[in-house]
Amino acid sequence: MLYVVIIFLFFSILLYFLLGGADFGAGIIELFTSTDNKSRTRRTMYKAIGPIWEANHMWLIIAVVIMFVGFPVIYSDMCTYLHIPLLIMLLGITARGTAFSFRNYDAIKDDKMQDLYNYIFVYSSFITPLFLGIVAGSVISRQIDPGATDYLSTYIFSWLNWFSVMVGFFTVALCGFLAAIYLIGEAKEQFDVKRFTKKAVIMNAVAVGFGGLVFIAAEHENVHLAHWIFGNPVSLIAVIAASLSLVLLWYLLSKGNTKVIRILAAFQVTMILVSVSYRHFPNIIMVKGGNNLSLLKDHAPMTTINDLGWGLLLGSLLILPALGYLFYSFQTKTKQE
């Protein structure tokens, strides 16, 4: 049952990255869209994510709940050492979620207020995945130092280091890429398809650039990232699969395909997550001094894990069909219009 819980944890994090990430990305795309085209982007985006908006962000809640029920020591350590980036991420989530809803549910659509909502929305769409990435980078960066005695090395340098920050920017670029690929399929006019394709190219290039910087920063901070990724066959295959699928994605896109490329983009992100986490599984938090926290060791008592596992299995029987139907029906209904 422990593995069931771990699989749920992995999938909720993955789905939050993919679905929530694409939502963030939509805001990032809007941020980097010229003023003339902003409202076009917004319309496409609203159509695409309006109905599924709230549901996409539920995956984070599921992941957090699994963490604090199933892996309380890991959760409380993260919350202690990464208090500040988690806090900033939360502020981002709050600002963003409310700004998105408010701009749609403000009964009077005057420019002044709409501009304010848009402004909050696009900047928090950028900040939130940045800090999400920083948190993700920090847990594997070995910079968390339980032996530290001063404020800076306990609560600041645990996350403010080149590696974590580069992972943060890499995450932002990936979100932008996911969103651009997604929006290509939602765009109604050729003009928008072209625009989103261009955005996808840029985001792709930026992601590759920051990916490279992540490796350099890893060397600089003594994180054995290259060794984790290229030192074992599973991670290596995952990386190769991701690269090949990227080539395939661009080929299909040039042929005008809009649906398969979504799957390929999601596949790439999945492979990146697999290749990074495979080597150090079951360890999830790498700390200075080597007392790493492990999903297989630092979990709640088995009675709790069993109940949690059953809860998640039964819950997913309710959630998954309903969610699937939500996605499916709005895909087909928007097409009919």
């Binding site: 962000h57 539920m58 709940v65 699994i66 029920v69 199933g70 309380p72 409380s76 549910y105 008592p301």
Partner: protein
């Protein structure tokens, strides 16, 4: 401000705001589903407009409730890491189920808000019902987690170790039913009166009177029934507190001395130094009767509880008095409404009658906050009653007061934004819904 007080204030602030968003987020979908039902049945477009107007309110509150809930699930760890480290595996079960219920609510809300005229009307109506039901279930689950802190169960605590953990037993602890019942009824009462009050104000101003009258009727029916039922569940809660948390009950009543024919106290200013109450009305024997069903058996007072295990008496007492006073007032005007409906229909449009309900708009929520204060402050100094002290649970990170100031700013901004948006929604009612 020291870090411990800052952490407690931040938690209190976050929960204080979240409780409002989530009460409205779980009760308004029920109103929305009722008026949607009426629309499908009568085909009167007015009901469709009411449903749509309310659904916008629901969307605004759901979004705010969802983010403040996400924030809270992190704040538990950010502020109380030691508590979560030990309590997470024991009382986490309702949270994980709540995650499921909340997820379903979000999916159903997606269908409801964006599904007008796209689905079979009964399917669309059903998704609205699902929003309401899963909202109420979420609320019950979260309160059940809180009740575990008041009435810990499902583990053995031996020499500082938590063993024999049983999350299901923890979830169905002795206090869960009375607490969940009390909170659910409170949510209906507070939301019912708040929504009714806003519509009463619009009737009073003679704006879209038919629209607002129909809305008023649906909301007040729930609010009034809930207010009438609430004292029964309150009695259950108080009896439970007497049994499991004598310090809380004693603080609620400012009951300093254990003696036969224990007095029920109305009002009064507790003097904790001299251990007496000034200016209160004391009803001898009544507290004994309410707790033990006979007038003589003494109710344990604060003298039975070591000083270091006592909550803040004046705060708990005043909050309790405020909650009860408001509860009684809402009960009275709830009865008055039904009386008017039955015998004096003409009252319903009288300005004194409307003013009464306009005045009641915020009261239910003030009572909810007061009740929440009673249960939380009354549990102190414990975070897990009798097991872990709140001061042992707090994060070691210094500088929490900055985070508290930040959260204060955010919650006030958010609330201002919500009020602003709702007022604009109400202002636009004539333009948006008057074209039939």
């Amino acid at each position: 401000m020291n870090d411990f007080i800052a952490a407690r204030s931040q938690m209190a602030l976050s929960l204080g705001f979240h409780i409002i968003y989530s009460c409205i987020g779980m009760v308004m979908p029920v109103f929305m589903a009722i008026s949607n039902y009426k629309y499908i049945r009568t085909n009167n477009p007015l009901y469709k407009h009411i449903t749509q107007a309310w659904s916008k309110g629901v969307a605004i509150f759901f979004a705010t409730g969802a983010v403040s809930g996400t924030m809270l699930s992190f704040e538990l760890g950010l502020l109380w890491p030691k508590f979560m480290e030990h309590a997470g595996p024991i009382f986490g079960m309702p949270f994980s189920l709540e995650g499921v219920a909340f997820f379903i609510e979000a999916i159903a809300l997606g269908f409801f808000l964006y599904g007008w005229d796209k689905f079979n009307k009964w399917f669309h109506w059903f998704t609205g019902i699902v929003v309401g039901v899963s909202g109420v279930v979420s609320g019950i689950l979260v309160v059940s987690a809180n009740s575990w802190m008041n009435s810990p169960a499902g583990f053995d605590y031996v020499k500082g170790q938590y063993t024999n953990i049983d999350p299901i037993k923890a979830m169905f602890n002795a206090a869960w039913f009375s607490e969940a019942l009390h909170m659910t009824i409170a949510a209906f009462a507070a939301t019912g009166f708040a929504v009714a009050g806003i519509h009463a104000l619009m009737i009073f101003r003679k704006k879209n009177v038919t629209f607002h009258t129909k809305s008023f009727k649906i909301a007040i029916a729930f609010g009034a029934v809930a207010a009438i039922l609430q004292p029964l569940s309150g009695d259950l809660s108080a009896k439970g507190a007497a049994q499991r948390q004598p310090a809380k009950l004693a603080a609620m009543e400012a009951h300093f001395h254990t003696e036969p024919y224990s007095k029920l106290l109305i009002g009064g200013i507790p003097d904790t130094v001299n251990k007496k109450v000034n200016y209160g009305i004391e009803l001898p024997g009544l507290l004994s009767f309410l707790v033990h069903d006979d007038f003589k058996t003494p109710v344990n007072g604060l003298d039975k509880i070591p000083q270091k295990d006592q909550p803040n008496v004046p705060v708990t007492h005043y909050a309790f008095q405020l909650m009860v006073a408001i509860g009684m007032f809402l009960l009275a005007i709830g009865l008055l409404y039904f009386f008017a409906l039955w015998k004096k229909r003409e009252w319903l449009n009288k300005s004194w009658f409307l003013k009464l309900f306009i005045a009641a708009t915020p009261l239910g929520f003030i009572a909810v906050e007061a009740g929440w204060t009673v249960t939380e402050v009354g549990r102190q100094p414990w975070i897990i009653q009798g097991v872990m002290r709140t001061s042992e649970a707090v994060t070691p990170m210094p500088g929490i007061h900055y985070s508290f100031y930040l959260f204060t700013l955010i919650y006030f901004t958010l609330s201002l934004a919500v009020v602003f948006l709702l007022s604009r929604q109400i202002k636009m009612v004539p333009e948006l819904y008057d074209h039939n």
